[in-house]
Assembly symmetry: C2
């Protein structure tokens, strides 16, 4: 049994705990969360500082993306594998290079950007391009809550609480439905204009709606549809698609746990999901998987 520490015990961390509990080949031995007052959760020790973690094989970094590389580097240099769902798309390669150096120094493995997008969606986009080398791939997200856009909307002056829904309108174009409550004295029209003017929203069809209670709107369901129409060899109009309707943190954390398993099967370095042999994500011996799924 591989020993797992969960770093960060918000939504993803709590779901990751459940995913490890049902995995046949790993167990949670510690949780790092400064905001928890309990000393244990389900009998698992909770520590506030990552320096105090129990001996372990892998750390699941269930913290905001920006904090991931700084958390991962010292763990990797100590020989502890890490898995994260870092999702700042245009910065993944740079962070991977940094974590790869640390992983090689520690003789261990990091898997980065290991959620559903980036993550399994990235694997699908690569596979679709291998099948249809020429053509266009569209990734349509939602309907589902965007954590990033919700945080930005909440930070606008006059907003008490906010939730931004991503609505797919096809060909990779999305509508933003932003539900807000106001601070006392704030003017709705002014606040709505400020949200629409933010760089997170100004390029999208954004609708701001006054709500009575944001918490009553929260639903962690999400979805995606990836489509590629293209050319195999010189044969046109080949169409391939992928879709899902899922609980977002439950899937993200499950993918992280499957990637932790794959981490133990790679040579030292930092990997994104398309760099991992998919078979390494599953428990058990190759023979059984090949007989059952190939």
């Amino acid at each position: 049994m591989k020993k797992v520490v969960i770093v960060g015990y918000g939504n993803i961390g709590q779901y990751a705990h459940k995913a490890v509990d049902v995995a046949p080949d790993m167990e949670v031995v510690g949780i790092v969360e400064p905001n928890l007052s309990e000393k244990t959760v389900d009998g698992i020790p909770v520590v506030a500082n990552i320096a105090d973690i129990a001996p372990c094989d892998v750390a699941l970094l269930c913290t905001p993306s920006r904090s991931v590389p700084d958390l991962a580097e010292p763990l990797l240099r100590k020989g502890i594998a890490t898995v994260d769902s870092y999702d700042i798309h245009n910065d993944i390669f740079e962070q991977q290079q940094r974590m790869s150096a640390a992983a090689k120094a520690g003789g261990t493995v990091a898997v980065t950007a290991a959620g559903w997008d980036p993550g399994t969606d990235s694997v699908i986009r690569v596979l679709l391009e291998a099948m249809l080398p020429k053509g266009i791939t569209y990734t349509d997200f939602g309907p589902g809550m965007s954590m990033g856009h919700s945080v930005v909307a909440r930070s606008v002056a006059g907003v008490a609480d906010a939730l931004s829904m991503t609505i797919p309108t096809g060909t990779g174009v999305h509508r933003r439905m932003v539900y807000i409550t106001l601070e006392v004295g704030a003017d709705f029209a002014t606040v709505a204009a400020a949200i629409k003017a933010d760089s997170y929203f100004c390029n999208d069809d954004t609708h701001v709606i006054l709500a009575e209670d944001i918490d009553a709107l929260r639903d962690m369901g999400h979805g995606v549809r990836i489509e590629r129409k293209g050319v195999s060899g010189d044969t046109h109009n080949q169409k391939v698609g992928f879709d899902m309707s899922i609980n977002n943190p439950a899937l993200t954390s499950q993918i992280m746990v499957s990637c932790a398993r794959a981490a133990f099967r790679q040579v030292p370095g930092c990997y994104t999901m398309p760099e991992l042999p998919p078979i390494d994500l599953l428990p058990g011996e190759r023979e059984g998987i090949i007989r059952r799924l190939v």
Copy 2:
């Protein structure tokens, strides 16, 4: 540029030729096909015997599945990589073991079962299980022509020509629509009963239809829908799906060509597609692929 020899110049071989022609990193240097009278095709030399092939890096084995292991073994022992779309599902692991020994002896790589099913569908089934470890996956094929079932129907006494269509009826259950023409003097009812009694058809809802001209019905389009509904961690009702509508030999041969590229990037041995890092299927450097698709 990697040098490719195409072994077998039927549908798959001819489409493979086109797929290599548009690949930026490989070129066809020879064709093996005893049934071709021409000495060259598009300037590429044709030989009847595999012993006479030009020096090459990889052989695409575009022949019936049963002939693949015997063709692959001597090539692999000579250090020539091979790619095949061997599709006898319940025998893949055994053939892989045999080809793996030959590939290791020759210091080269074989990729086997590299079509769309087995092949890319296998990768999807593995990925779906990594995302939702508990649940049921259904693979629904079609509508499309089944080569194997058509051959069996043609072999029944009294049948002049036959085409068997696979029609998906959901949850992995398929209807077989078998179009036949009769030999002179054959009795339709007797022939239809014989087809339905064959082990390829007796477990399916099989309909035999008398046609005027089988060739007028031939369409190489095919499709698949793979669905998994299952559990991530302890969260139920997670749904993921994959679908496509494609020209069958064009996609099969394109996948073989992408797998030839991946072959050059693995350590010696024989691989099924879920054992290959998907990124190795694409031409170019990892950095660009990660920036663009992860």
